[in-house]
Point group: C2
Chain length 315, copies 2
């Protein structure tokens, strides 16, 4: 094998962290070259993708470290994408590598990657979905961590099967949760630092109140409101069970592929909009290059077609 060769799906799955790491670097350098691998990975998903979001300081890193340890103890492999809220002005990542937990470098079953959120205010990097698709084809679980301040939670729901929203005790009443636009999204709401006793119970109650207000959503999944402290292992077990249950529910209801197809469509729309704006989206509506095929067909494939077909000129 030549070192510069792009790995295929088989090599990606067998090649361990080295191959995945190379694939992700290639993806950042020249995404166009990765089209075939992305298409193959898109059609061969393996993992449940779990988004872990919540405001800064809520304890997401600690939670992720615990989760990874427990999944590995069960023999499940884990890929992690930590999305870095980059500074808009400087263009760079504000905190550098913000992964604040370490994993065993010898363990081929866990892989962690930081990605910058770039210009998109939503909090998810343009390449996040592509990286997710690669990892989803390789691992048993993919965790995506975002600094969920404000409405970036909405975005993580576009690339994940299961959204976990973390709150710490005493961080606001129901109205505040609603204002932050949070209540509509999570499948699991998790109160961290639950050793804070009464405040944790109060926050759980507030969350339940806020979540029940937004239950017009046409979903039969009843949002789980849980609590967890880093010293409380039963909290962790219950949390992991809830994650599994949501995945089982998605599959049994036939919702998993429906949801993923919707996400693919949404991503494609955003990508086309990014490239050709609203004018591009309207133009496509009147052609047979329909974005609606996304889902069944890889959205990366469709984007590549759009890129080759559309052109901007002067009237």
């Amino acid at each position: 094998m030549v070192a510069e060769e792009i790995p295929d799906l088989e090599l990606l799955r067998k090649g361990g962290k080295l191959q995945l790491s190379r694939a992700l670097s290639l993806l950042e350098q020249s995404p166009a070259k990765m089209l075939n691998l992305l298409n193959d990975c898109y059609h061969a998903p393996r993992a449940q993708v779990v988004g872990v979001t919540g405001p800064p300081g809520v304890g997401k890193s600690t939670l992720l470290a615990e989760l990874i340890k427990s999944y590995r103890a069960e023999g499940r492999t884990v890929g992690v994408i930590a999305v870095d809220p980059s500074s808009k002005k400087s263009g760079g990542a504000l905190l550098g590598d913000r992964v604040r937990f370490s994993t065993d470098p010898e363990d081929q079953g866990v892989f962690v990657r930081s990605m910058a959120a770039r210009e998109r205010l939503g909090g998810l990097a343009d390449l996040t979905i592509a990286a997710m698709v690669l990892m989803r084809a390789v691992f048993d679980i993919v965790l995506i961590e975002t600094v969920g301040v404000g409405q970036s939670e909405t975005d993580v729901s576009g690339v994940t099967d299961t959204v976990v929203f973390c709150v710490q005790p005493g961080s606001g009443d129901s109205l505040q949760f609603m204002k932050a636009g949070i209540a509509e999204i999570p499948h699991i709401a998790l109160v961290t630092k639950a050793d804070m006793g009464k405040a944790a119970e109060r926050t759980k109650a507030d969350l339940r109140g806020a979540l029940s207000l937004s239950s017009e959503e046409s979903s039969d999944w009843a949002v789980k409101v849980l609590a967890l402290s880093s010293s409380d292992k039963t909290g962790l077990e219950g949390f992991m069970t809830a994650i599994d249950e949501h995945y089982t529910w998605l599959q049994s209801e036939g919702m998993l592929s429906v949801q993923r197809h919707q996400q693919a469509k949404q991503w494609l729309r955003e990508a086309v909009r990014d490239l050709f704006g609203r004018a591009g989206l309207s133009f496509l509506q009147n052609t047979e290059l329909s974005l609606d095929k996304a889902g069944e067909i890889s959205p990366f494939e469709l984007l590549s077609q759009v890129q080759q077909e559309l052109v901007i000129s002067r009237r």
Copy 2:
């Protein structure tokens, strides 16, 4: 005068709240028709535009109510735009009219308008800058309130002369401020609820620490870190003085027009990107339709030209 007529700048200035209200409604219905008025207002600014941002619950509404009262007592006229973080899923405003303070309906010198943040995650509505330009031509002070969670502060800096970031005591250490991407932007950092004594002092110190870390910015304005409680009138006076001082500084350094021109350019780039995507922006770089003229020329005028000139087609 026919009721459907679009007011001109003179009528807008003389016509009180009724005319302004009509102009803003027309702006929402058919922005294209408002081009002449927008151009005229753009070239006849009167107000200092002050952005008031900070996380939900920090006390922005109370602060605004106090500010308005004091400005009115000084005889200064005030326009307020309260940007509503709309719910992405439902498309509507989550809390309806979120202005939680009342003003004297008989007073023609104060005007408050809520605007939805629509799809833009940044927190500022597409129409906010247009509404701001209308109000800037009419009032002595324009206040723009945003629920500044996460990086939406970055956005408010694109439409205001002076950015005030509000924090409440005990809301995090320096690192948390940095993580939220806040430290780079404000001209004034204001600790609200300063009756909380020691916690307020601690938060002021944290803010000073966080702000000094980001002082590579090429600006000679030393960020003011102030504290204020709703019961403490000297806090309010000092805050208003700081707002005035920043405006005087902007004018004396010739920075006011420089900053406004940059904002106009940036807005035009965003607007073109929204309409024609990155492909549209690259295309314009190779034509004489340069976006660099924005500032001197009204960005609304330039956008209208771009809209008339560019077209998307199939290769």
